[in-house]
Symmetry: C2
Subunit: 381 residues, 2 copies
Amino acid sequence: MIIPFNIPYQSKNAQHYIKKAMESKRYAGNNRFTEKCIHFLEQKYGLKNIYFTSSCTTAMEMGALLAGLQHGDEVIMPSYTFSSTANSVALRGAKPIFCEISPETMNIDVKMIESLITERTKMIVPIDYAGIPCDIQSIKKLSDKYNLMIMQDAAQSFHSFHNSGKPCGAESLLTAFSFHETKNINCGEGGALIINDDSLIERANFLQEKGTDRSLVLKGVKSKYSWVDLGSSFLLSDILASILLCQFEEVDKIVKKREVITKSYIELFSQYSKKGYLKIPKIPNGSIINHHAFFVIFDTAKNQEDFLSLLKKKEIYPYIGYMPLHSSIMGQRFGYKPSDLPITQDFASRIVRMPFYYSLQGEALDYCINGVDSVLRKIYD
Amino acid sequence: MIIPFNIPYQSKNAQHYIKKAMESKRYAGNNRFTEKCIHFLEQKYGLKNIYFTSSCTTAMEMGALLAGLQHGDEVIMPSYTFSSTANSVALRGAKPIFCEISPETMNIDVKMIESLITERTKMIVPIDYAGIPCDIQSIKKLSDKYNLMIMQDAAQSFHSFHNSGKPCGAESLLTAFSFHETKNINCGEGGALIINDDSLIERANFLQEKGTDRSLVLKGVKSKYSWVDLGSSFLLSDILASILLCQFEEVDKIVKKREVITKSYIELFSQYSKKGYLKIPKIPNGSIINHHAFFVIFDTAKNQEDFLSLLKKKEIYPYIGYMPLHSSIMGQRFGYKPSDLPITQDFASRIVRMPFYYSLQGEALDYCINGVDSVLRKIYD
């Protein structure tokens, strides 16, 4: 049996929905199925001002443009994240300022943020690693105090809830979701930007439509649209939106099935974490996770490597974490050296993300858990 | 009968191909169907270094990044184009320098380009309006003389051929195609960038994959990928690539059917163009067009407006042309005023694009041609 890292979930209704999208003959961005997706997220999560985009990466880029980031601006973010978090602001000429992580969640260390704030700081970009919501309350206190914007990289946390009770997407000025093949809800490549400030909406409409005021033409305000702003094609093909819609409609079922996997991993790894051999994530009190992922932090990089190679022999494929951005080639170009963020550097070398997908159930889950169990015994017993 | 401006072509094989893409369980960008699309374009057109993207807009942005455009650089392009042509370079901080058009094709006026070249000029961005290839030979002479890059906005000209005999995509350093819902070959939202310089490929691979060297990991050169450059998610969901593939396989059939529409329009409008009432496009000698579109330039803006409103009563929907960029809000922000490019300003106010789509055949085409004929008689007889 092979246990890959990911198998994307597919709804039984997908073919039917795709057919309907194509039969409509209108399946560029922002057509019928995108509208249905927007309506669904509004109704289910109380989110508003939802823009579906071609990826989470481009959603972040739309957010950075909308925020008006400029050359010389500074943006605080964890170094332990994906390149797109940093590129979205670097593409505007802003400088990513890298912050340490809190090892319990691998999310940004909120205690360190304040020390990084300068007169140039314009924005904080927390991420929700493995679907665990960042400590948004503490971050909002800082953003209020220093008048900073927040753009939440929620690539992994669609359908997770902050300890405020609000869903990811409802707390930050800007939030970006991913619907990439690797995510709970997926269409190959896709994303969305949520904008919690109505005063930004007119410009967001311009940005999404290649910097034109086409939105005003659709509303009947103008008769011809023209070039009014920077912008891109921040749009999702309605065919892909149709695939998302049928998965949105099944999101509770999807997350519930995934919860079983989290529980199995906790049961297994807890025995070792209690002995101090490894660490497992600590979900912040009151937060609700979407069971997107499960990570384990080994005591040594050597044991992490052994774990991966021994499981490979059993055709079980966990995955490594991010290579920290601050110590990458680009991070060094921004003036960082690996030792600047020792916690990030250390934990990134010891983390493993476990196989995690909807159909990891029954026999497959048993095989995976048993395989991992035997490898852990080999390493630690 | 209603004759809309566009109905997207759909292949009978689409559902089958989509199903195969989804069953593969690997349908993020650059998977099996994207590879097949690339292979098809290589074989059929001799194109190389083909990158499928989420849109033509993002293909142009990838090109602008790859070209290394920077703040202060100048890029010469026609004002008569879509906002994305200009935004792709403006997003990098470069300044669009707007050039007049040649009314016979509505493409960039090559005779004017040289007068716009300064020490800051880095690139020329011609477009292929209505699928008519730009005069690439003359543009290449200039780019050679002044050491400029060429990025061809071939949004409308996939499967058109320059008078060199080479297909659009084979002549310029960079070429961007669109597979938007409105194009001959379409998947809702989609595009591609063609790169005719092998020395740019390594970096192109980085840019496409969010500025990471993931391509080196896939090749086995590195074991872990990291952040090495700017970049975005310049990728097309493989589900959309599967839709493109079945249309690529039918491209000759599609273009042949569309040719009938061009011929019908020429037959009808020629009677009026001969009398000097209106102008129809003049295809450059030796060029082969893809029958993407057909435009008519009326003698007066008044007659253009009457034409549109009279046809609306018959439920026949031609479309207006571009609002010139130089006289738009953004154009004015770049220092232009409407009178700077009087030919563009004038012709843009008199142009109409006729309904044009694969299924405009038989009875529908007859209804359209007869309706247009009666409106032209009303206006001119």
